[in-house]
Symmetry: C2
Subunit: 297 residues, 2 copies
């Protein structure tokens, strides 16, 4: 099997890796060239800047996941519908250069007739399942837009998006609460964080719970330095409040350590343990997709 170039091309950054046959990283690069920074028609040049040298190897194959396949991306790669197994995703690549450069499709699912979407997370989920040796699982991909993903028998059955990270940022930077917090977030105050998780779960809606950050500070029951941690607990607790965790003992959390450890703290309050998976899930997922292409295309 020849060299695989994996590219995770998101809204605000581009990560690329040269992978061996097992999906291990030989070399990795990161560029601040998310799709929002790329002018119309500029995608081939940015791709060449990121991976041009790697692509000169004979038989090199590049698989791209993430927002590069969105309407604002390089080429629009249609969404695959849920439930979607690994084979469904692997079979629906959109080829930019046949046999050389392809986009992984995003996924869509419906709830109450309203669509939800993901791009890139499907690849991380399939990679994580392989890394963990699981066929059924509940996975969380925390971030600006957190995804909760239910996998049954190796396929993504359904998922839901939560604007958790974005709402934290809005409240942290632009709301009335911003005025009562120090400029920097500082280290996580675990006690304040857990207090926020509990309050959000009792409160019924973040619209109400968030106001408690103001009143607790007003009555000097929460130090200004602890408010960012409390607010983080509120938004993550709000996300947890609506999850159906009956019978769930463990959740796989995919992401950077700074965020996954917060989910671990929050889920511990519900007696649910966490298995952490890092960014290698993306590369493992892309390698698995590439392996379905042997001798084809």
């Amino acid at each position: 099997m020849s060299t695989l170039i994996g590219v995770d091309w998101g809204t605000s950054s581009l990560r690329a890796a040269r992978l061996d046959a097992a999906g291990e990283v030989l070399e990795e690069r990161s560029l601040p060239r998310g799709i929002l920074t790329v002018p119309a028609g500029g995608f081939p040049a940015v791709f060449d800047e990121a991976c041009g040298d790697w692509m000169r190897e004979p038989g090199a194959l590049a698989l791209l996941c993430g927002m590069a396949g969105s309407r604002q991306g390089w080429v629009e790669a249609p969404y695959a519908g849920c439930p979607a197994g690994f084979a469904d995703v692997a079979a629906q690549l959109t080829w930019i250069e046949p046999g050389r450069i392809a986009l992984v499709p995003g996924l869509t699912c419906h709830e109450h007739g309203v669509p939800d979407v993901m791009r890139g997370e499907e690849t991380q989920v399939f990679g994580a399942l392989e890394l963990l040796g699981l066929q059924s699982a509940l996975l969380v991909l925390p971030g600006t837009h957190s995804k909760w993903v239910r996998v049954i028998d190796g396929g993504i059955d359904r998922f839901a998006t939560f604007m958790t990270g974005e709402c934290y940022g809005l409240l942290r930077q632009h709301s009335i609460l911003a005025r009562m917090m120090p400029a920097g977030d500082g280290e996580l105050d675990a006690a304040a964080f857990v207090q926020g998780v509990h309050h959000a779960r009792r409160s019924g809606t973040l619209l109400h719970a968030a106001f408690s950050a103001r009143t607790l500070a007003l009555f000097e029951r929460l130090a200004p330095a602890a408010v960012p941690s409390y607010l983080s607990g509120l938004v993550i607790g709000e996300e947890l409040r609506v999850q159906d965790l009956r019978g769930t003992l463990s959740v796989a959390v995919i992401g950077a350590q700074a965020l996954t450890c917060r989910y671990e703290l929050a889920l511990a309050t519900l007696g649910v343990t966490v298995t952490r998976v890092g960014s290698q899930a993306t590369w493992r997922g892309l390698r698995a997709i590439a392996s379905t292409l042997q001798g084809t295309s």
Copy 2:
């Protein structure tokens, strides 16, 4: 009974009115001098600018409600605790100049040990009860921070704050959703608004429901011009989702027409009618408090 000067001094503006014995407005003024615009020690001068001529009348009495009594205001007026009847509020004025200028206390209540607060709304509620001839009611004061107030036997039993207007503004102006909306809100699209109300009620949390504004627009099921109305329906629907409206046939909504009509639309989806009360509620409430002072102070 001599002239009463009523002042509703909020965060971003100051409204003042000269009132007759029945609480009717003889003259009204509005200044863009909310407490955030007033430097330390500057309150007497701004008050004089707003009401100095009226205060020169013999026996003139000024009653102030709102954020002028907050820690960042003229003088801090301690909160009265809930449940609080009209007499409790009227008896706990904080005098700035004895017999001449007084602040109405705000209210505080607790839920799950967490405090909530209001300043100014208590006066509007008591005024509205008088205007409507009610002793028990559920009232809503929509706005940046909406208040839902439960009145039993003439007293404010409990209330809760929702950061509804503020969260609308944050999502409207600063979130990823802002990019898919036209610059101005335009006229309310009632169908899109009601669609948002329904989706928020089904959705369980605004963190998830808000993402539907993005996906519905992405799949061209919602026109860009309709997204602001849909988003408004989402945030107001989220606020309604957690209200206990069992046995409630009618809710009193206090505020400006542009906002109260949205609550009327939203509550109609639940079979609840609305009685609208305008800004005269504040003046009526201040006049009722003043009437308890006759011959005292």
